[in-house]
């Protein structure tokens, strides 16, 4: 566990394992709340790379949160779009 504390989990927002773990322990929260509190998964890729890791942290830290219970919650857009192109399509 040499550099684990400072290991980046969310590459887009550079949220570390230490930060996620301490927030999860303190608030005993859902994966969604953990993301809102730390900004993990809120960056450019929309959580594509880190969501699995964030879910696992919750699964392993918060009592009674099992993998199957963590809701598969996605919100559009699932790909980054410019404000312009969303506007044109509505």
């Amino acid at each position: 566990m040499i550099n684990m504390e400072n290991m980046v989990i969310c590459r887009c927002e550079e949220v570390t394992y230490g930060e996620l773990l301490s927030t999860a322990k303190e608030h005993k929260c859902t994966a969604r709340e953990l993301k809102l509190r730390t900004r993990a998964g809120m960056g450019f890729c929309g959580g594509r790379t880190c969501r699995v890791s964030v879910d696992k942290i919750i699964e392993n830290t918060v009592p009674n949160a099992s993998a199957g219970d963590i809701l598969l919650k996605y919100q559009p857009p699932v790909r980054p779009v410019t404000f312009g192109s969303v506007g044109e399509n509505q």
């Binding site: 566990m1 696992k56 559009p76 699932v78 790909r79 980054p80």
Partner: protein
């Protein structure tokens, strides 16, 4: 407007497009990548028969077949949202919104990330990235690399990198932590590898399977597992070495590793640095289902299928009218299974659309049968319990959704 929009031009999407188009429907296929084929493009391995499975050729074959049936294949198109409006599906993309009565979501799989300290450095990539760079773009990813993570996917791609003349120095495990989980535990990794042993191409694995099924022997084997590793195709597989940190200033220069005990705990004071100019992280695959999720499709968590999968019937329909799924989005299996599932979906869509030829029921039954027989003959199986996973989904569909489906079909006829 097409009758069908297929999202994803991989083996499932293209096979689905071909089956729908052969039954008289107009089909548009969308894909983000620069050419059709999906993950099939990079696949290259030798079958037990000695024949090569050449994903690039298979992709070309599917593309030509689809093209001959006037399927409109558009590459470089990203879909960012999917929603139903009355009877039509709106597929929102970077080139505008397309509509169709039927949508086949065949978005395949994404790779599990395994975070390692230093993994944001240039030169660190997912193992799938290395596969695409090597076999699709034909550019070497580096001179000397280290693979972190030992699983079926990493073995398959190791072989592909070696074929292209790329030196993979060693395969090691990620350090055990609450994210890497079992992938960081030598005994668990060995167990998983041996599960797939009779299917694995490597002689080591075949050798191992004979006597390592016994728990006690396996424990002994991992206890006495040589530090230098055992060779897989000439590359040491070091199950008792963990990646502690990837180091480098502007890009990868090496990986700091440490010896571990049989459970994966790092033994302090054993750290050494292995030089490398690239690192591949191999965490395995999970179904990439975000578009089915934003569309509102119900999901089930089925670990044997790779995680959360959209609920679907054996004929690839979802509980949402007009929405079908096929390929790795329904569970992680080989490209051949994806193709066979795509064919089912394509025929099922034609059936729903009322393109009833005298043979359509027979076609559909044959296609379902085809998936089963391909699965039985599979040389690579990502999850040894795939059958269990498929049965679970079938049961869930039959208890939860099949009655609803009858209502729906009834309405459709009226």
């Amino acid at each position: 407007m097409s009758d069908v929009i297929v999202i994803g031009a991989g083996p499932a999407g293209l096979a689905g497009a071909i089956a729908s188009a052969s039954n008289g429907l107009s089909v548009t296929v969308l894909d983000e990548f620069i050419k059709p084929g999906g993950r099939l493009l990079g696949q290259l391995h030798q079958e037990p028969s000695g024949e090569w499975w050449n994903g690039m050729k298979e992709s070309e074959r599917l593309f030509l077949e689809a093209n001959n049936l006037s399927v409109d294949i558009r590459c470089g198109v990203s879909v960012y949202n999917l929603e139903k409006d009355e009877n039509l599906w709106n597929v929102h993309t970077n080139i505008g919104t397309l509509t169709a009565r039927y949508v086949l979501v065949a978005t395949g799989a994404a790779e599990y990330p395994v975070p390692v300290p230093g993994w944001t450095l240039p030169g660190v990539m997912s193992i799938g990235a290395a596969q695409v760079m090597t076999n699709v773009h034909r550019v070497q990813v580096g001179k000397k690399g280290i693979i972190i993570g030992a699983n079926i996917l990493s073995f398959a791609i190791l072989n592909e990198l070696q074929l292209a003349g790329i030196n993979v120095d060693r395969i090691i495990l990620p350090e055990k932590n609450s994210i890497s989980g079992k992938a960081g535990e030598p005994e668990e990794v060995l167990k998983t590898l041996l599960h797939a042993a009779h299917l694995a191409p490597s002689p080591l694995m075949r050798f191992g399977s004979h006597f390592m099924k016994n728990n006690w022997l396996r424990k002994m084997a991992i206890h006495f597992y040589p530090k230098s590793g055992m060779k897989v195709n000439g590359t040491p597989l070091q199950l008792r070495i963990a990646a502690v940190e990837i180091v480098g200033k502007e890009q990868v220069e090496g990986v700091k590793v440490a010896n571990t005990d049989a459970a994966g705990q790092v033994i302090p004071g054993t750290e050494v640095l292995y030089e490398a100019d690239f690192v591949c992280i191999a965490g395995g695959l999970y179904p990439l289902a975000e578009l089915a999720a934003v569309a509102g499709c119900p999901f089930e968590y089925i670990p044997e299928l790779g995680g959360h999968v959209p609920c679907h019937s054996e004929t690839m329909e979802t509980p949402l009218g007009g929405l079908f799924v096929a390929g790795n989005i329904t569970g992680i299996e080989s490209g051949k299974i994806s193709m066979a599932q795509g064919t089912i979906a394509g025929i099922a869509i034609a059936n729903h659309a009322g393109k009833v030829s005298s043979t359509i029921d027979q076609q559909l039954q044959q296609a379902v049968q085809q998936v089963r027989s391909v699965r039985e003959q599979a040389t690579i199986q990502f999850n040894p319990e795939i059958d269990k996973g498929r049965s679970k989904m079938k049961e869930i569909w039959e208890t939860k959704f099949a009655p609803l489906d009858k209502e729906y079909s009834h309405k459709k006829i009226v």
